[in-house]
Point group: C2
Chain length 297, copies 2
Amino acid sequence: MSPKTLNVGLAQQACTSDRDANLAASLNSIRELADHGAQLIVLPELHAHPYFCQIEDPVSFNLAEAIPGPTTHAISAIARELGVVVVASVFERRAPGLYHNTAVVIERDGDVIGTYRKMHIPDDPGYYEKYYFTPGDLGFTPIDTSVGRLGVLVCWDQWFPEAARLMALAGAELLLYPTAIGWNPDEVEEERQRQWEAWIIIQRAHAIANGIPAVVCNRVGFEPDPSGQTPGISFWGTSFIVGPQGEWLATASAEEPATLTAELDLSHSESVRRAWPYLRDRRIDAYGGLLKRYLDR
Amino acid sequence: MSPKTLNVGLAQQACTSDRDANLAASLNSIRELADHGAQLIVLPELHAHPYFCQIEDPVSFNLAEAIPGPTTHAISAIARELGVVVVASVFERRAPGLYHNTAVVIERDGDVIGTYRKMHIPDDPGYYEKYYFTPGDLGFTPIDTSVGRLGVLVCWDQWFPEAARLMALAGAELLLYPTAIGWNPDEVEEERQRQWEAWIIIQRAHAIANGIPAVVCNRVGFEPDPSGQTPGISFWGTSFIVGPQGEWLATASAEEPATLTAELDLSHSESVRRAWPYLRDRRIDAYGGLLKRYLDR
């Protein structure tokens, strides 16, 4: 098989309540990554904002915007200037009272070529996303770009093997996870370690189960809880890129903003799948229960 | 939640062409594990035999036996004597010309209380299982025992998130993987490392995705290819037990037979699932594609 190389980059970013500064940081990182040869660049989840879902505040809906809108306009301009494909993340205002957590894929000519609305929406103390985001209604549909067919998923989706599998079955050539996840700073060290390792393992496992690379872009740094009711969130960074056997290609620190690149050969996935041919052997005749909430007896 | 402790044990075993010696080793390990307090004991895949699937040889079908049969009789006797539940693995002769790779669950009173016929059957050089084993027709059905509801799966199943998920949805309290996997001794070190890590990661990920412990029992040691056409298989051992966050509880070496135990608290899984409630959020309305071979455009 002839190689199909792709230089992929990601921007691990710390975010504040200054939207313009956040966006400027994203644009700077895109420029830096393009300088390093990145053809495809992934930004973290909701990179224009602090992680406002730490509390349920009606005012935060004012952060939402249309697609296309101010954030995508800014990214389209730099994508066109630099000739790179960018996966951005927008708090989407679809209609008055209807909002999504949406990944936007912008082509190297600046066009918004596709969107993915986060399908699995979390909700637990400090992550009140069900208040803000209507679950996605676009399904698990990869987005075709000039650099390949992208399986874009968002954060909480990363815990669901179903999401990665559906993207792979629809021909995704790699998995991309814009993310915002961190620790409760009061948590004991052992539990922090378990959570962090679990998060790494499950995403490496999606690469392995499907024989395609995965790119995970997290935010980093501490963000306080505006209500003061919790100790806030220490976003754990550790953005990473793995190959189709889940093997490490690049990883960022848990403490600092960073840009990261890796050269993928998308044609290598077929060799991996020939060696461990899971797609050949799936028992689709016996998987009906996957469409049930629970298999009560 | 009141604790539901379970002391689980496994016997990482090396196998030869001497069936009686293999079975004696299994029985010795069961006795040793019971002495260490194990209430549930897992044996490797096809532990009474060398891994005969390295070649396609019609004579090997003579190794198959009924369930119940000689192997389960021997294990039933010791299970009853010691009052332990055992997960054994049998080359099942179901009818003339119809054979399965079957895990057998034997209760502490010696009864064969349930079977699981391997659903996903591999086939690649050195692992010619499609020649020997008809794919299972019992589905992904956990087996109720005095120590809990067991999600018994076998080897190649371990690469399929669907299998683990279906067991969890049917109420399995832990996942059990009797296994026979190893390296081609001629493989380069980097590739050996990738394969071995991928195998660990994907099974830890099944625990994580489903919030239940996983017990993996592999064989160990070198077995030659009787045909001499390949360099044989170095089974990589590394049997392990992880908790419901995929956290390490116990692991065996890659080189030697071993017995291994860990104390699980099955009630802990509910706390883990409350913290990271994947079962709450599965998008069963959008998972239809999982029942397809591929989502062609």
